[in-house]
């Protein structure tokens, strides 16, 4: 064991925190080095001196001062609490928030384009394109009906006309030509 190893173990030796083998090593070192014995004694004295130092008390005014600080802390808290009456906002904050909201709405209305206030649609074709479309012959409903060979008004319920669809229908698997 050298001096540095010994010094590392001084506190543990004094406080009896060494293993048996370590303790024997330290004691062997102490036997060989009388100055090390003296060092142990000095460290023990320093520790005892520290321990014997008187405790320090707070001054007589300490509690009064502390109570004063606590009272002002409580007062500050109660002021904050009493002003928080609008859903967690102070009146000032609530007023400012309301003003900001109103201002945003007003500005929004002011700068909104006029067209956006009316119902509008964008035509898919321009006026020119519409004009260029081919003109279809105008026919009345009557003339269109007249062109039809038959319509539901001519249907005779008593003598229904039988129609032969044999040559028009071909079923799946039908071998007919």
């Amino acid at each position: 064991m050298d001096r540095y190893q010994f010094e590392d173990l001084i506190s543990d030796y004094i406080e009896n925190n060494l293993s048996m083998s370590q303790r024997k090593q330290v004691e062997a070192y102490l036997e060989e080095n009388p100055e090390a014995k003296h060092q142990i004694k000095s460290v023990k004295q320093a520790m005892a001196s520290m321990k014997s130092m008187p405790g320090i008390s707070t001054s007589a005014e300490f509690m009064n001062n502390l109570n004063r600080r606590i009272t002002s802390e409580k007062e500050a808290k109660s002021v904050v609490k009493s002003t928080r009456s609008f859903a967690g906002y102070t009146p000032l904050m609530a007023s400012l928030s309301a003003v900001v909201v109103i201002a945003v709405v007003m500005l929004g209305l002011e700068f909104m384009p006029e067209s956006s206030n009316q119902a509008t649609f964008t035509p898919a074709m321009t006026e020119q394109q519409i004009n260029d479309l081919p003109v279809l012959p105008l026919k009345t409903n009557d003339s269109m009906l007249a062109e039809s060979e038959e319509d539901s008004t001519n249907y005779d319920e008593d003598n229904p006309v039988k129609r032969n669809f044999d040559d028009k229908i071909q079923l799946v698997g039908d071998k007919r030509p």
Binding site: E7, V43, S49, M50, K51, I56, S57
Partner: protein, 190 residues
């Protein structure tokens, strides 16, 4: 009827968290002098030490609800006081109000905790106390904190490790080094 003084610190802080201010007063009475001793030995200034203890106990009042019963109450309160004390020393160092390391032994001012008239014996005791206090001030901050907590406040190594938030082995090593340095300083002052 349960005696109020039978409550543990942890029970008292729990009662305070539930709104019992009497529990707070009891904690203050238990800790103000202990903290005062710790902080005074650390900053070496009675006025500053008292301010720091006040700040610590005010923090207990305003932030008591932050304490969780995962550590001892004493660990928590010493940590707060230690942080305030370190901040004060850093501030003091920045402003360069005093620089003890540049002064000789006789130049240094010491504020004694007592103003009672001294008899021969008490004067000798105060002289010895001055020497030790000066030797403590010469220690680096990380040595000073741990050695005060161990040899003056008599806290366990485990608790000190939690207060200063360093591993147990480091705490033991620092305390050992601090004691060796103190022993050397006290030998020089003789």
């Amino acid at each position: 009827m349960t005696d109020e003084f039978s409550y543990s610190d942890e029970e008292l802080i729990a009662r305070f968290q539930d709104g019992d201010e009497q529990a707070y007063v009891e904690l203050v009475n238990r800790y103000r002098n202990r903290l005062m001793t710790f902080v005074y030995r650390f900053v070496n200034d009675m006025e500053k030490a008292e301010d720091i203890v006040q700040d610590t106990l005010m923090k207990l009042y305003t932030h008591g609800h932050y304490y969780r019963n995962i550590a001892k109450f004493s660990t928590w309160i010493y940590t707060i006081a230690g942080n305030f004390a370190k901040t004060e020393l850093r501030r003091k160092k920045r402003h360069k109000v005093t620089n003890l390391s540049q002064m000789g032994f006789d130049d240094r001012e010491y504020q004694l905790p007592s103003v009672e008239p001294e008899t021969g014996e008490t004067a000798q005791g105060h002289f010895a106390e001055k020497k030790i206090q000066m030797a403590i001030q010469e220690l680096p901050l990380h040595f000073r904190t741990v050695v005060i907590l161990r040899d003056i406040q008599e806290l366990s190594y485990e608790e000190i490790s939690k207060i200063v938030d360093v591993p147990l082995g480091t705490v033991k090593s620092r305390i050992n080094r601090a004691r060796l340095q103190l022993q050397q300083s006290l030998k020089e002052f003789k």
